[in-house]
């Protein structure tokens, strides 16, 4: 029997992303897994979190009794404000995004292609209700797009592919991919593996990745 490949767990992935966010960055975290990143910003760094429904300076989740229906994040979950936070309307919020004022956005993915195309809003299934939210604005406007995802689907199919088969969110928009197996940089010269999780080697990584991977 083949030993089970473990790789990094979600918390370790979040910690790895957080460690690469520089002091002073304005950061938007996508709904779900990316929200974990906020828990691991290294001490001494000041990072301001943006949520597209109109808040800069998102703080930690409140205690149950302090939840406020009118203070939520883009995932509709209750949040708090930090000192120095501010509220604004949706058009200003997306001016921050589209206008290139947000430094980093961390998003999930269905698929990422070799040239940095991202598919994360629709699997294109017939009968599915289409919904897009702010994903397309974020990928076009934010300077650095980081993808936080499992390396493969639940069935073991590659999520890092030659060409996305799902409808695109944006073309050539992804800068870095953090998976349970590796950290991958998407460059003009292709995908380069920056780091591999303990127990993962390059041959194994290639075997579960459809896109061509290169080593620095």
């Amino acid at each position: 029997m083949v030993a089970e490949i473990k790789g990094w767990n979600r918390e370790q992935m979040a910690q790895k992303i957080a460690g690469d966010i520089p002091d002073g960055a304005y950061v938007n975290l996508g709904i779900g897994l990316p929200e974990l990143v906020a828990n691991y910003i290294p001490e001494g760094r000041e990072v301001i979190f943006h949520t597209e429904n109109g808040l800069l300076g998102v703080g930690p989740s409140p205690a149950k009794e302090d939840e406020d229906d009118e203070l939520i994040n883009a995932g509709k979950k209750p949040v708090t404000t930090i000192k120095g936070s501010c509220f604004f309307h949706h058009a200003d919020s997306f001016a921050m995004i589209r206008g290139g004022h947000i430094d980093i956005c961390v998003l999930g993915a269905f698929q990422v292609s070799e040239n940095g195309d991202l598919a994360n809003w629709s699997t294109g299934e017939p009968g599915a209700i289409p919904a897009v939210g702010g994903a397309m604005d974020l990928v076009e406007g934010v300077k650095t797009i980081i993808i936080f995802t499992q390396h493969t689907t639940k069935n073991g199919e590659p999520k890092i592919v030659k060409e996305c088969t799902y409808p695109l969110t944006g073309k050539g928009v992804v800068s870095h991919i953090y998976t349970d197996y590796a950290v991958i940089d998407v460059t003009d010269n292709g995908m380069f593996v920056r780091e591999m999780a303990p127990g993962i080697d390059f041959e194994f990584l290639k075997s579960c990745t459809e896109a061509e991977l290169k080593q620095y």
Partner: protein, 237 residues
């Protein structure tokens, strides 16, 4: 004398007509003008086109308006949220139309509509299925998609504080689409938790200038959408 104060929600929505385009503020369960929407349900205007980020929650507010078959088309960015039950069902049955718009494009189309800008170019949705059939142009060697401004006959908006001129202050992330929707509607109808005397709002902190607002109605203790959903309440009660 300028007095935009309506006595009741029913009086505030009385002019809404069949076939109107109505913008409704709110994002998830924050900022939706539930009392105004319920007044619109009582009023009964039909064949409405509604512009709102989501499609309502549970069986109250916008979801109840849709369930009551008053809406023929939704223009929104995220029609299926955790608590959205009514819209997906009707959509699958082909009983309601959907125009899906990326969230930032939706906000900007509304802002543009209110600012007298008929159309604009945005990088959002370039090379995706949502750009199909739309004019694209290259600026500074990057492709952009043309999007049209949206104007509405009415807006239904929730805020925290208003005065009789229609100057508005909002509450936290319940502000969301409210300010731009007030701009883009011929007649913005606003429910406020309090209506205060002229002069008691500091001009430096007014969020929506009264010129964008047609009517305000005081709803001192607006319902909690979250709580009504937890209790599985329906409108009409």
């Amino acid at each position: 004398m300028i007095n935009k104060v309506a006595k009741t929600a029913a009086e505030a929505v009385a002019d809404i007509f069949d076939g109107a385009t109505i913008m409704i503020s709110g994002f998830g369960e924050a900022g939706s003008p539930i009392e105004l929407i319920h007044a619109l349900i009582d009023h009964g205007a039909k064949n409405l086109t509604v512009v709102s980020n989501n499609t309502g929650n549970g069986h109250i507010g916008l979801a109840a308006l849709i369930e009551n078959k008053q809406v023929k088309k939704m223009i929104c960015s995220f029609p299926r949220t955790a608590n959205s039950i009514v819209f997906p069902e009707l959509y699958r049955q082909g009983e309601i139309e959907l125009e899906l718009v990326p969230q930032g494009t939706l906000a900007e189309r509304i802002r543009a509509g209110g600012a007298g800008i008929p159309a604009f170019f945005t990088p959002t949705s370039v090379n995706t299925p949502l750009a199909i059939g739309k004019e694209t142009r290259i600026f500074e060697s990057k492709p952009y998609v043309m999007e049209f401004g949206i104007k509405a006959d009415f807006a239904l908006v929730k805020c925290k504080t208003a005065d009789r001129y229609g100057n508005l202050l909002f509450n936290k992330t319940a502000r969301n689409f409210g300010p731009v929707m007030c701009m883009a509607a011929k007649s913005a109808i606003v429910q406020a938790s309090e209506i205060v005397e002229i002069g008691s709002i500091d001009p430096e902190i007014v969020v929506t200038p009264g010129i964008f607002v047609k009517k305000v109605v005081e709803i001192t203790h607006p319902v909690s959408e979250n709580q009504l959903i937890r209790e599985n309440r329906r409108y009409p009660w």
